[in-house]
């Protein structure tokens, strides 16, 4: 089984879809000659040409909006918003148009659009280049939301996103791009709405997304040395959400920690906690702990940035707190 980086895995899904299907094309800032600011689309211009690998002006409204229009006409555009912070500029098109066309038209229109974007702290980009805004989009009926944490998941989920007939916001984490992992030769689409149990355990379930999946796995190793058995579940798609797998896991372990890099307040962990308390109330032996960033815009100085975002130690401490509750 070949090893691909997370970056290569995303590129592989794009290249295969472009190769197979004339209706797939890419639009975004600096994605052609430069290969994208994260080098994800490197080499695609050479293979597919400028008509299908389209550099755009710095116009997030028009990038997403024209993607919507082309999608409604039967294309499968994949647009790139360079940083998820810049999704804020395209919110009107995403929230009022992409998400609502199908319902507003009484089912006449579908919008098979994929919006790829990335973010994440850990390299001192400051407050406007590393936010984690995925929870915002979960709140909008009509959008699907994906957050891949491994190379294999990135490829299989992106493929499914491209071929989903709904608008999908596909989040990548910047610090995961160099991460290597085994990815099968044959592309297996991963259905949207199916969680992945990364590690089975008996005492605590950690439901983690993005970079925090890996922090949770580290924390789980460490907890093991303390005699605590930790299960790590990655929902992978936040909407639709695999409630069944998550609730079943917590019913088994009776304790739960949610973990993401986004701020805790109003974060996706809050939704997870609500789903879990409802589905596993009689099984829970401790309050659900939430791990996430402190409530502050990301500061520049590395020491401050590192203090704001969560790490494996934060997950570990949360695990210990839940276990300490009888």
């Amino acid at each position: 089984m070949p090893e691909l980086t997370y970056r290569e895995a995303v590129r592989d899904a794009l290249a295969r879809a472009l190769r197979e299907d004339e209706s797939v094309f890419l639009m975004g800032e600096d994605i052609a000659e430069m290969g994208g600011s994260m080098a994800v689309t490197q080499g695609l211009l050479a293979e597919f040409g400028p008509k299908r690998i389209r550099n755009t002006p710095i116009s997030e409204i028009a990038i997403v909006g024209s993607g919507i229009g082309a999608a409604i006409q039967g294309m499968r555009p994949v647009v790139e918003i360079m940083y998820e912070d810049f999704l804020t500029l395209s919110m009107e098109q995403l929230v009022n148009q992409a998400a609502k066309h199908r319902t507003m038209s009484g089912g006449q229109v579908t919008v098979p659009l994929t919006i790829r974007t990335q973010g994440g702290a850990g390299w001192s980009p400051g407050a406007q280049h590393a936010q984690q805004l995925e929870a915002w989009f979960v709140h909008v009926p009509g959008l699907k939301v994906v957050f891949a944490s491994t190379p294999e998941d990135a490829r299989g989920l992106l493929w499914s996103s491209i071929y989903d007939d709904n608008p999908v916001v596909f989040f990548e984490h910047r610090t995961l791009y160099p991460l290597k992992g085994d990815v099968p030769d044959r592309l297996e689409p991963i259905p949207l709405g199916k969680a992945r149990v990364h590690r089975e355990g008996e005492d605590v379930t950690v439901v983690a997304t993005g970079r925090l999946v890996h922090e949770a796995l580290k924390a789980a190793e460490e907890a093991g040395t303390e005699g605590i058995s930790v299960e790590v579940v990655d929902p992978r798609t936040l909407q639709p959400l695999d409630e069944e797998t998550i609730v079943a896991s917590v019913r088994k372990t009776t304790r739960c920690v949610t973990a993401h890099e986004a701020v805790v307040r109003g974060g996706f962990g809050a939704e997870l906690a609500a789903v879990i308390q409802h589905g596993a109330f009689d099984w829970l032996d401790a309050p659900i702990e939430r791990v996430g960033a402190k409530f502050a815009p990301l500061p520049f100085a590395p020491a401050m940035e590192q203090w704001v975002v969560p790490h494996a130690e934060d997950v570990l401490e949360a695990i210990r707190r839940t276990v300490a509750r009888g």
């Binding site: 389209r54 755009t56 409204i61 997403v64 024209s66 009107e92 199908r102 006449q108």
Partner: protein
């Protein structure tokens, strides 16, 4: 929509009296439809709120007549005329305003979200300028697939102050997509007059497209023949692969922003003057020298059509409440 033969004849820049009569009938149908909508709204029969485009009928009729059936439009919150002119029956539009399954958006949309994909209406939009970028994308799809179609966005002068408008025109011109941007310039952004929202003279708004190197065509939006010929020229340009066109049509909103708007912001005498001199239906009637009997005959037909649409709508099917979430995902 005009027939192929009628369009061919007009290629010579002459519109037959017969075609003008067809336009007149459609404009009067739109007028009577919107008057009926106002009446039924005031009677408390229509949920939500409504915007009518009384005074702007020549824009809807003239532009849509110049389009082919496969061409697509995106409309605005003032949408009834566009929808009728693009080919949706008044019955299905009225049923939509009553929130019925038989409506053109099956009761999910309402007045500001009239869709009819079958005839190329990609939807009216309640966000000012919200439909413009989608039209750039539709036109891009046509260009990439080599289809001889154009995509048309309707919007008002207020929309030209949004970033959405500017990003869209910039991208459309950059990629030379077959789009027509129809600036339906009535000089009002809701209650705010041109003098308070536009740094340019209201009649010179097309200059905004010139900044992108885009071809602009202007016509008197109250003169349906002028609108039609200008739209034909715009379509010809866009469909020939020469790039998008801004079609600037100066028009007049002879009513309030919404049905029931007391228009406290508007000069009464000026409005009265506009109603007397700028009504496109009256202007066309004078041009056609329609006799009172001639007018009455057409009026009786379209009024009956509108009345029948109300009956159709009232007899329509109410949606099941639980179907509300039926189309959230495909």
């Amino acid at each position: 929509m005009a027939t192929v033969e009628e369009r061919a004849e007009s290629g010579g820049r002459r519109v037959s009296e017969q075609l003008l009569k067809t336009f007149f009938r459609e404009m009067l149908l739109i007028r009577r439809f919107e008057e009926k909508v106002e009446e039924r709204f005031r009677a408390g029969e229509l949920p939500g709120f409504l915007h009518v485009a009384i005074g702007q009928e020549a824009v809807a009729t003239g532009v849509c007549a110049a389009l082919e059936r496969d061409d697509v439009i995106a409309s605005t919150h003032r949408a009834h005329g566009h929808a009728i002119a693009k080919g949706t029956s008044v019955e299905r539009i009225m049923a939509e305003l009553y929130g019925k399954l038989e409506g053109c958006s099956h009761g999910y949309g309402g007045s500001m979200h009239l869709y009819d994909v079958e005839v190329g209406n990609l939807g009216a939009n309640a966000v000012v300028a919200g439909g413009i970028p989608g039209i750039v994308g539709a036109a891009l799809a046509f260009l990439m697939r080599g289809e001889p179609r154009v995509a048309v966005a309707f919007f008002g002068d207020g929309a030209t102050n949004t970033g959405t408008f500017h990003e869209s025109l910039n991208l459309a011109q950059l990629w030379k997509v077959p789009a027509i941007f129809v600036l339906e310039n009535n000089g009002w952004a809701e209650s705010t007059p041109a003098t308070q929202q536009l740094p340019l003279p209201v009649d010179e708004l097309a200059r905004r497209a010139l900044a992108y190197g885009m071809k602009t065509i202007e016509a008197d939006g109250q003169d349906v023949e002028a609108v039609y010929l200008a739209a034909l020229a715009a379509r010809e340009h866009a469909a020939a692969g020469k790039g998008p066109v801004l079609l600037h049509l100066r028009t007049y909103r002879l009513t309030g922003h919404y049905v029931g708007d007391p228009q406290v912001y508007r000069d009464r005498a000026e409005l009265k003057g506009e109603r007397e001199t700028k009504d496109p239906v009256e202007l066309l009637r004078a041009r056609l020298q329609l006799t009172d009997e001639g007018l009455a005959a057409i009026d009786a037909q379209v009024t009956a059509e509108v009345e029948a649409s109300v009956e159709f709508a009232k007899a329509g099917t109410d949606p099941s409440p639980e179907d509300a979430a039926k189309y959230v995902y495909a």
